[in-house]
Symmetry: C2
Subunit: 403 residues, 2 copies
Amino acid sequence: MVNVAILGFGTVGSGVAEVLTKNGGLIDQRVDDLVRLKYILDVREFPGSPFKDCFVKDFSIIENDPEVDIVVETIGGATIALDFTTRALKAGKSVVTSNKELVATHGYDLLQLARENKVSYLFEASVGGGIPILRPLTSCLAANELTQITGILNGTTNYILTRMIKAGLTFDQALKEAQDNGYAEKDPTAGVDGHDACRKICILAALAFGQHVYPQQVPTEGIRNVTLEDVAYADSKGYKLKLLGRCMREPEGKICAFVAPHLVSDHNPLAGVEDVFNAIAVTGNAIGDVMFYGRGAGKLPTASAVVADVIDIAKDRKKDRHNAWGPGAPDLVVSPDILSSRWYVRASATVDQARLACGEILPLARAGAPADETAFLTDLMTQPQIRDCLKGMAVSSLFRVLD
Amino acid sequence: MVNVAILGFGTVGSGVAEVLTKNGGLIDQRVDDLVRLKYILDVREFPGSPFKDCFVKDFSIIENDPEVDIVVETIGGATIALDFTTRALKAGKSVVTSNKELVATHGYDLLQLARENKVSYLFEASVGGGIPILRPLTSCLAANELTQITGILNGTTNYILTRMIKAGLTFDQALKEAQDNGYAEKDPTAGVDGHDACRKICILAALAFGQHVYPQQVPTEGIRNVTLEDVAYADSKGYKLKLLGRCMREPEGKICAFVAPHLVSDHNPLAGVEDVFNAIAVTGNAIGDVMFYGRGAGKLPTASAVVADVIDIAKDRKKDRHNAWGPGAPDLVVSPDILSSRWYVRASATVDQARLACGEILPLARAGAPADETAFLTDLMTQPQIRDCLKGMAVSSLFRVLD
C-alpha cells in the first residue's frame, strides 16, 4: 500500500484526486501495489465531494502519519508551500509538485533536503503542464551534451498572441477573452509579464546544465508591448510573434537565459504552436533538435504529469533519482546581450534612415501604415549593437527574430 | 566498470561508438561508473578505425566474456540479430537495440527471455530514431489510459511527400532525390511501401495497449500511389498528404492498427512535420494530446537513443524494468474497416455523379484538371460504406482524411 496526501484542493489538486480515482485500476497495476489517496489538506469545506472523508485542515496530521509515503503539493507560491514541503521531506516523505515558483526559487535546497532524507522531490508538472519534458531531458537525452532549449512555456500568452494574429484582436481584447474562457487568471501578471515563463526556463536550464538558475538572474520581458501593427508586419514575411523562454550553454560553464517576445519564422515548428498549447525545443550534440508539444496547463493534463511522478516514486520508493543540480552563483548567468540575432524594428523613420542606421535591412509592409512608420528586419547583431544603431530614432518595437 | 559490446559497425553502430566516446565524460558522470566500449563485432575490417582494438569477428567471444554487461545490437533484420540477441540474453547480458523489425516480430519472446534471465531488453531507438517516445509512453504517461497514437514514422516517405508538395516533384523524382541525398536505401521498399512504419506502429501499440501486435496483422499501404494531382487537390483546401501509422484502443480489449496515406488538415500539428522529421501524437484520457517531434533517423540521433538506454541500464543493472507486454493473438487486431473517416476521392466522374454516389461532398479544384476528373472530400463513413458508394466509378485515389 502506498498512501498519498494532496495539499491544496484547487484545479490541479482536484485533478490529481480525479486521475488517481478514475485510473486507479491501471495505476495499481503499473505500480504493482495499491496506491491510495489518504488525505486532502485544504482550509475550505467540500461537503458534497466524493473525497469528503479525506479532508483535513491541519498539516501536522499528514506530517506525523507514518503511513503517508507521498505528499502532492499543489498549493502554489513559495511561502506555505515551502514550509509544508520542507516539513514533509524532513518527515521522510517524497514530495511531488506542479509548483514552478517554488522549484525555481528553492529547488536546489529542496533537492538537497530530499537527498539527505533519502526521499524524492519530483516536479514534472511544473514545466509544460502534462507534456513529458523534465524526465525525457534527464533520461532519454542523457547521452547528449545539451546546448540549448527554446520554449513556448505559457499558455495564456500564447493564446493571447494567437488571437491577435488570427482574429485581429488587440492585446487588451485578447486578454479579456482569455480571462472569460478561464485561460488567464484575474491577475494575469505572472503570465503576460513573462514571470511564469521565466520560472519554467529556470527549471529547464537547471536540469539541462546542472546548476540552479534563479528567476531574478533572467532578463524577462512580457507581451504587453506587442501590438497589432507588429503582428501584421511579422505576418507579411511569414513570421509569428511568440513569447519564448530561452537558455543556452555558454563557454566556461556559464548559462545565458532570458524571456522575450520573438518573431518566429514559419519554417520553425514553434511558429505553428497555437492557442493554449506549449512546445519545448531541445538541442543536444547527438540528437540535434527534438520538440515536445502539448497542453501546457489545465486540470487533467497537469494532473497526468503529477500522477506520473507519484507512480514513479511508488514503483520504487528507495531509488536514488539523482534529480539534483548544483548550487547557483551570482556570476553563473550571463546577459543575452552577447547573443547575436536578427532584429525586428518598428520606428518613426524612413526606409532610407533605417538603412543608414542599420546597414543591410529587409523592409516590411502592412496595410494602412502611416507614412512616417518603417518596420524592418536587420542582419545579425547583438543587443548593444542594435541599440547603438538605433540611437536617436523613435523606436516603437524591438524584438529578436528566431529563424 | 560497465562493459559494452556493439554488434554491427554500420551507421547506427558506429554512431553509438562515437557518442560513447565523444560524450564519455558526461556519460560516466551520469552513470556514476565507467562505461567502456569493449568489443565491436563486424565481419568487415576497419584498419584505420580509432576503435580498431575493439573489433572481433566471433560472437562467442562476447557471449562468453563475463565482463560484458550490455550488448548493443545494430545488425538489423530478424535472423542473425535474433540469434545473437537470444544468446546474449541467455548469457545474462542486457541488450539494447534500434532494430524495429526484430522487436516488432519477436519482441514478446525476447522480453520474456530478458525477464527470465533478470536482464533488460530496451529499444527506444527502434521508433522515431532519437525522439524520446517509448520511455515517455511508459513512464511520463503512466497515469493515463492511452486511447490512440498517430505517427509520421518514416523519414524517407515524409521527405518524398514533402518534396512532392513543396517542389512539385513526382514520386519517382522525389525518391531518386532522397536516394541521392542518402535518405533512402537503394532498395526503398521497406520505407515507401509502409513496412517500416508498420513495424513501428506495432511496437507503439504493444507498449500502449499491452499486447504484442504483429506486422502481418496490420493492413499497410505505402505511398507509391500518391500522385501530384492528389497533392494539388489536397493543398487547395489546406491538407497535406502524409503517411500515417495509427493505432487505437477498441472495446473488449481489441486493437485497431493500420498504415496508410492520409490527407492531414493544416490545423493538425502533424501537417507541419516536413522533410525527414518524424512526429508521434499520443492521446490519453488525462493528458489529452501530446506530440513528440524530431529526426526519426540518422547516425547520431539514433545513437543518442541507443546510448540513453545503455545509460539507463548501466545506472541500475538489477532493476526490473517491467518493459514487457502480453502475447499477441490472431483475433486481437481488428480491421480499420470499422473506423469512420472523411475520405478523399479522385475519380473519373462529374461532381453531380459524385454527389449522387456519396451524398454531401466538398468538391476540390486544381489547375489543369481534365474535364472528366473530379476530386472531393466526403462526410464521415467507414471503408465498406465508401467502397459501396463508389461502386462502378473509376476511382484513381482513395485516402482517409485526418482533421
